[in-house]
């Protein structure tokens, strides 16, 4: 089994904010090209890797499984420029309490360069009364790049995107911390799956998809699923790790296995097959309860066209949507391996054998 850590570190070191995924898309395309039969790009920029069935069944057109991992990241956008300071707004869900003091990269469109900066919190007396003492709302936070107002005016424009710049760090025992592990860790897991499939026979076509715009409008999952029209669809995403401030039924220990969704976004017979395969190959899995929404691409995929049977597979992660997300590399390997074994387990008549209770 190859070590996917270097690839994942490179994945979280390139930009790819929701709606602006081109840089990370390019990297994924390169990595997947030798692993699939054909790589293409959707009109919105999602990456589609097609690996055709290696076992021919009795039917002319093999059924297909779409594995969706969103590649877009949460981040910020420049909303106003005053002197050398940038005011910002969020792209995706961000708690403004995690921002002050965070290093960022401003993707400056004026000169087409990436600029280092820091998110700063102005003194309370420079903020309207009563707003500066406690949590400083996002609209008052600014970015300082150490440049002069003249340089900033030339380089940066309103609407420019801002990524976190906290560097990835490996921790002892095989853990990785950094920003945007949600959901690049799943892209890495899907890549592990494709590597595993090189030595496996499968009678279904496989569509590996890195979707755009999950963090904002599910733009990629709706459209790629419509275009590909798979027989079934699996979303791979992050779930909550147990850690500071996070406990209870929605949270899972890092490094102790991955999770299978249970709820309206998950088609029961897909859950059942994943569970059987996991037990057979001894990968620890836990039930992830999603009473209404899964808040993953599965919510969009199941509603595409006439409806697609869908599944959610998740990797536990601490501190989701901060610049210091934390995952266990072995959970990523497990997710990749389980996906590959699940795909290999699909018989050509899998769908025909399904019976609803």
């Amino acid at each position: 089994m190859s070590d996917i850590t270097p690839f994942l570190k490179s994945l979280i070191s390139v930009a790819g904010l929701s709606g602006f995924e081109a840089p990370v898309g390019k990297l994924i395309k390169q990595k997947w090209t030798p692993l699939v039969d054909e790589v293409s790009e959707s009109k919105l920029g999602s990456i589609h890797g097609r690996k055709t069935a290696t076992l021919k069944g009795h039917i002319r057109q093999a059924p297909s499984v779409l594995i969706a991992t969103h590649m877009d990241a949460i981040g910020l956008m420049v909303s106003r420029i005053v002197d050398e300071f940038l005011y910002i707004t969020n792209i995706g869900g961000i708690d403004s309490r995690v921002l002050p003091g965070t290093p960022v990269t401003v993707h400056a469109s004026g000169t087409n360069e990436d600029l280092y900066g820091v998110i700063v919190m102005p003194p309370s007396n420079l903020i309207p009364d009563g707003e500066g003492g406690g949590v400083v709302p996002l609209k008052y936070l600014m970015i300082d790049m150490g440049l002069t107002s003249k340089e900033v005016a030339q380089k940066v424009k309103v609407g420019d995107r801002v990524s976190f710049a906290t560097e990835p760090v490996e921790m002892s025992g095989g853990y990785l911390s950094g920003h945007t592990l949600d959901n690049r860790a799943s892209v890495a897991a899907l890549t592990v799956c494709l590597e595993e499939l090189q030595n496996k026979k499968h009678s279904w076509d496989v569509w590996a998809v890195a979707t755009v715009q999950e963090e904002t409008v599910f733009g990629g999952s709706y459209t790629s699923t419509y275009q590909i029209r798979p027989t079934i669809a699996v979303a791979v995403d992050m779930t909550f790790g147990k850690g500071t401030g996070s406990s209870g039924y929605q949270t899972f220990h890092l490094g102790k296995g991955i999770t299978l969704g249970i709820g309206p976004s998950v088609t029961p017979y897909l859950y059942k097959r994943f569970k059987e395969v996991a037990e057979r190959i001894e990968i620890p899995v836990h039930d992830d309860l999603m009473p209404e929404y899964s808040s993953t691409d599965a919510d969009a995929m199941q509603l595409t066209a006439e409806g697609i049977p869908s599944m959610v597979l998740s990797i536990p992660q601490r501190y989701m949507h901060t610049a210091v997300e934390l995952v266990a590399m072995k959970d990523i390997q497990r997710a990749g391996r389980l996906l590959a074994e699940f795909i290999a387990s699909l018989e050509t008549d899998f769908m025909e054998k399904i019976s609803w209770e």
Partner: protein, 348 residues
Amino acid sequence: MLTIGKPQLDLLEKLCNAMSVSGEEGEVRRIVLEEVKPYADEVKVDALGSVLVTKKSTNKKALRVLLDAHMDEVGFMIVHDDGDGFYQFQTVGGIDERHLVGKQVIVGKDHTIGVIGAKPIHLTTSDERKHTIDVDSMRIDLGPEGKAKVGDRATFATKFKRVGNSIMSKSIDDRIGVVTLIELLKNAPKNIELCLSFSVQEEIGLRGATVAGYYFNPDLAIAVDSTPARDLPDYEGRENFTYNTKLGLGPAIYMANSSAIDHPSLVKFLEETAIKNKIQYQLRQPGGGGTDAGAIQGARGGIPVVSVSVPHRYTHSPISISRIDDWKNTLNLLHVALKNINRDILKR
């Protein structure tokens, strides 16, 4: 003119990236000792850990001038091992807790990387997000298999960066003063006996300087520090009248703060020196904040003091910003002032 070139910036980088939390300044002390030994006549490490350096004058009756810069920085101490890689910590020195969640830290002598995590936004309520997170409820997370020792110190993990005329780093306060003192030692004027205190424990009550002032018993002292600028724009576009200093306007000369009333004759002498030598300077708005001058002023029967600072923004946070030109002007103002200083200027 003395310059700020690659050697000075490289030394500042090395010092800023070192960990030197108040009470455990070993990493910076080692670098300082190495730098000062070739140039000093006397070097000692005192009872608290400050590095005290003397450079003698050719004149036996020379004025004895103490320059102080503090080696310590704000940071954290690990106070409890919760297991599973989680460590409870306390802040050391004045840290605004709103800067902590979502940041990387380095822990212990090996600089083991950890993170201060936060509950995911998905699991918070909108009411919860209106309240700041207490340090008591935060943990440093070294990963489930990470190890630290109770008592280990920790600090922000951000690395020094230079961007154009700016320095962006943790601990500019007061490593920029430390390098300034080292440069002044290397270029020491012969007319004075130059005493240097690289002081410990400034951030937790000016402790190193308290005993260093007593030890040296100088004729006068200058604290060389870095002061918060607070020169940001007002959200609603009103003029910001409450800046301490402004970046880009040169060294900040103090007149008074909460630790000391600066000696009026020294303030006047520095201003006149700056004007005469066409060195840009600014007067720091009197008000809060303190420097080691406060402790030195009260040593023995009293010592005339003044503070001079390189301004920085975002004090005691993971990344502060200073201008290289301000630093260069600070270094040169002090150098010219030392060359011209004499007993007469202390007469009121």
